[in-house]
């Protein structure tokens, strides 16, 4: 049986740990709040862009003139943009994405020539490099308070790869933020842009004039749209990361309280045992004197 001093030390150290996990939980909760605001303020921009792209894509279709980003071509190389966190301590957040991505690759590809990876977050970079996956490029240190500038570099490079025909397909693999306690793994195909024209906003549709012409507008609009989508996914993944961390840290804090309760119980038992022993020693001693 551990001594009273051992138990006391253990209680103290567990309490310290609980303080840390509680603090991390609160920090992540605050960050989650901000991440949600970021994602929300992005919404009108995304909606407007989608509307514009859908409008112009529909009219471009009619005239037969098509932009390379709208066109499916034979797939020789698929790119997966996998979004992970820079740090662990977020429960199964990173593990889930990585496992999902590896399974997806294993299922769809037979050789390394057929795919490439674009990774954000240190955890993912280490994982894929260690296992020898082909990583085209990666970005670590994505700030918690995401701004468009932070994402635009990554997004531009990714879209440029598609335009240069280094890749023929782009999938985004990330944790989608459903609500504060659940995340959903998503793998969505971003490029080529094939399923945007089907949307009907319901309102009266104006026939737009394009200045200087449709092709030129498409030329600028489509990269902007794709980059916007990547930024949106990054913001979404960030929110999911913080939510996962809040949950993980709350569980850790709960576990710590449970351990402290148990330890306190055994501490009290040990103390009581010591007192009882002392009394019986005194009594025994007194009896021996009589």
């Amino acid at each position: 049986m551990p001594s009273m001093r051992d138990i006391k030390e253990k209680i103290a150290s567990t309490k310290q740990m609980q303080k840390i996990t509680k603090a991390m939980q609160m920090v992540s909760a605050a960050k989650l709040n901000r991440a949600q605001t970021t994602a929300q303020s992005f919404e009108p921009y995304a909606a407007k862009l989608r509307e514009m792209v859908a409008g112009i894509a529909a009219s471009a279709n009619n005239q037969g003139g098509r932009h390379p980003m709208l066109e499916s071509r034979p797939v020789k190389k698929t790119a997966y943009l996998v979004m992970t966190a820079d740090r662990g301590l977020a429960g199964a957040y990173n593990g889930n994405v990585l496992k999902y991505a590896s399974e997806l690759i294993q299922k769809n590809h037979r050789s390394k020539e057929e795919y490439t990876l674009i990774v954000t977050g240190k955890v993912g970079v280490h994982y894929f490099e260690k296992r020898g996956y082909p990583v085209a490029f990666s970005q670590t240190g994505v700030p918690d308070e995401l701004s468009f500038d932070d994402a635009s570099d990554l997004a531009k490079r990714t879209v440029a790869m598609f335009i240069d025909k280094k890749i023929d397909e782009l999938y985004l693999v990330y944790n989608h933020f459903v609500n504060a306690i659940s995340q959903k793994l998503l793998s969505t195909r971003l490029l080529p842009l094939t399923d945007i024209s089907g949307e009907d906003s319901g309102g009266e549709k104006a026939i737009y004039e394009y200045e200087p012409d449709e092709d030129e507008v498409l030329e600028k609009l489509l990269p902007l749209y794709a980059e916007g989508q990547i930024y949106g996914a990054l913001a979404d993944a960030k929110a999911a990361e913080h939510a996962a961390r809040v949950t993980a840290m709350r569980n850790a804090s709960d576990n710590a309280s449970e351990i402290i309760d148990n330890l306190t119980l055994s501490f009290n038992r040990a103390r009581q045992a010591a007192i009882t022993q002392e009394i019986s020693e005194i009594v025994g001693g007194a009896a021996a004197l009589e």
Partner: protein, 137 residues
């Protein structure tokens, strides 16, 4: 005078939303002044200042818009950009710093070297910010 509802939308949220009488932008094809009931049009924008004239004919708001698009519908105008700021929101110090950084980068780079375009863009943006921030009403 009639007005038209105008929004300036960026990924970070709406920068401006209100009813104005005239919107003056610089599209890649040239300067455009848009009044209410303009024909529907979509045009890409230059990195340039956008002027928003109000109904009373006197008050004018300025915004620095870094590229993007303008979409004119019968009942509203939307300016869509990766980055845009109203005159009051511009951080002059930061813009000045960015400008000197860009100038320094440009002085060491040749037109064909990598990063030249990026530095040029940075210079353009910072200059636009400074110009918009100090514009006279």
């Amino acid at each position: 005078m009639s007005t038209v509802h105008t929004d300036i939308v960026t990924p970070a949220g709406k920068v401006f939303s209100g009813d104005v009488h005239m919107v003056i932008v610089r599209a890649t094809s040239g300067e455009m002044g848009i009044l209410p009931h303009h024909m529907p049009i979509v045009a890409p924008l230059d990195i340039a200042m956008v002027r928003l004239k109000y109904d009373d004919g006197e008050k004018v708001d300025f915004a620095a818009v870094h590229g993007g698009f303008i979409q004119v519908s019968p009942d509203h105008i939307t300016i869509l950009s990766e980055a845009a700021e109203m005159k009051e929101q511009i951080d002059i110090e930061r813009a000045q710093k960015a400008r000197s950084e860009a100038q320094q980068a440009l002085s060491t780079l040749h037109e064909s070297s990598e990063g030249y375009e990026e530095a040029m863009l940075k210079l353009k943006r910072s200059e636009l910010r400074l110009k918009t921030a100090t514009v006279d009403e």
